[in-house]
């Protein structure tokens, strides 16, 4: 793998992380819910796009740059877990269960949908 691809992963990873931060904080500061909606939207949309990339059979360097680099940095498992834990600390049991359950169900659904749409293109 060339140095250029590594640099590309680093740059696009930065873009993904910035996009996540902007989207997450925009949603979070406007959402009246106790539910961490920002992280949820980021993760589900990321799963959809990654499914789409696989669906259109993106390969090699392009897949590495878009999938691992961009979407990898965009989505966040650790924030999902941390915010779920915080809900637990506040004994918000329903929000906690919903944050795990909905994210899993919608995430797998979004990945499958992305893949189906990508495959049909």
């Amino acid at each position: 793998m060339s140095v250029l691809v590594w640099v590309g992963v680093a740059l696009l990873g930065g873009v993904g992380a910035c996009a996540r931060f902007l989207l997450d904080s925009t949603i979070a500061s406007r959402s009246p819910l106790d539910f961490p909606l920002g992280t949820y939207v980021v993760n589900i949309s990321g799963a959809f796009v990654l499914g789409l990339l696989v669906g259109v059979s993106l390969e090699g360097d392009a897949y590495l740059l878009a999938g691992t680099g961009t979407i990898g940095a965009y989505t966040t498992f650790s924030t999902w877990m941390l915010e779920t834990h915080r809900l637990g600390e506040e004994t918000e049991r329903w929000s906690m269960a919903a944050n795990v359950g909905l994210s899993l169900a919608a995430g797998i659904g979004a990945a499958a949908l992305g893949r189906a749409i990508g495959g049909a293109l």
Partner: protein
């Protein structure tokens, strides 16, 4: 008695509310402010990290969501004689640039503490703030626990221990480091109770602590365990010289105290922000009590947190009267609510500037 000087004097308390990431000339405002207090050898100052809050611009900062927790509220408190606080005031305002600042009157006691005959205005109810070192111990027990225990046994209405991250102790800078014991980094215990009970407990505190440093302020207990005792004083908007009068509510609850399934303090911040209050900040304590349950902190065995949380709300007397309705509704089952007069407040943002730091005087 090495260096013990007994102090019992009128003092001023300068409190600033700002953001963790506020900068001036590339340096953090929090650092500059505490440098200022350190250089001026302010008798006692402490920097506290809040967990949730908003200011004049009504941007919500909270540690509940990662993306909203990158600029959490900070509160710095500095107490010394009037001359010494006034000497740093101008520099503090210049450093601060935005956020809220308040000036309040307090009585500062340190060194040998004997029974204090409280000035008449402190008789109704008194807020006692005790400044301690993080690792300070009393009979092998952490000092903050020993203090809370004593206050609980003496029937004080409530006490909460807060961890500071920076500050000055008897004029010397003590800053928390990532590695290290942080023995003398200041922390504080805020207690509220009847004036007579507080006055009786003072000599005991003086005996318990190696070098006691504390302040007394006049407050009114508005609610205790969900019951309204007295509404906040109905204060005029200006004093007889036309200087603005401000008012403060402090709501003591716990992480475990719920209103309709949500922690009382988060519901409070949300509702007060919607109501357009000028600013509110929640601070999480590490130990404490209010009402008739024994002092406690978190339990290692449960995920849910139980530590005390205090929410501070400052605004004009008229807005505080409105805010009290919200507070009253959300603390229907539990919580301790106090009100105080704030003789001076300045609220500053890029667009707006309200109030000032000339002390108003209103007797009630």
């Amino acid at each position: 008695m090495n260096g013990r000087r007994a102090l019992n004097q009128d003092a001023l308390k300068l409190t600033t509310y700002f953001g963790e990431r506020d900068r001036l000339d590339g340096e953090l405002v929090a650092d500059r402010l505490l440098d200022l207090y350190g250089e001026a050898e302010i008798e006692t100052s402490v920097l506290l990290r809040g967990v949730e809050g908003f200011g004049l611009k009504h941007h919500l900062h909270t540690d509940r969501l990662l993306s909203l927790s990158e600029d959490l509220p900070l509160v710095s408190i500095a107490v010394d004689t009037r001359e010494r606080i006034e000497a740093v005031l101008e520099d503090a305002v210049r450093l601060k640039q935005k956020g809220l600042m308040t000036l309040e009157r307090a009585r500062l006691l340190s060194g040998e503490i004997l029974e204090v005959s409280l000035p008449e205005e402190l008789h109704e109810a008194t807020k006692l703030t005790i400044y301690l070192g993080r690792q300070e111990r009393v009979y092998r027990m952490p000092a903050f626990m020993a203090v809370c225990d004593l206050l609980y046994r003496r029937g004080i209405a409530g006490a909460t221990a807060f961890l500071g991250v920076d500050g000055t102790v008897r004029g010397e800078r003590e800053r928390a480091r990532f590695f290290g014991r942080n023995r003398d980094v200041p922390m504080m215990v805020i207690a509220v109770g009847e004036g007579a009970r507080i006055s009786r407990v003072l000599p005991e505190l003086g005996g318990l602590l190696h070098r006691a440093l504390l302040t007394l302020e006049r407050v009114r207990v508005c609610k205790r365990d969900g019951e309204v005792i007295e509404r906040p004083h109905a204060l005029p908007s200006t004093d007889e010289h036309g200087l603005e009068v401000w008012q403060k509510l402090m709501v003591y609850t716990s992480e475990a105290a719920k209103h309709e399934g949500h922690p009382v303090h988060t519901a409070l911040i949300r509702r007060l922000r919607e109501a357009g209050v000028v600013g509110a900040t929640s601070l999480r304590g590490i130990w404490g009590f209010h009402g008739d349950h024994a002092p406690h902190g978190d339990k290692a065995s449960t995920l849910g947190r139980h530590v005390p949380v205090t929410t501070i709300i400052v605004d004009t007397p008229a807005r505080i009267a409105e805010a009290f309705e919200v507070v009253d509704e959300l603390t229907a089952e539990r919580g301790l609510v106090t009100s105080e007069m704030v003789p001076a407040m300045a609220a500053i943002s890029e667009r707006e500037r309200r109030g000032g730091l000339d002390l108003s005087r209103h007797r009630f």
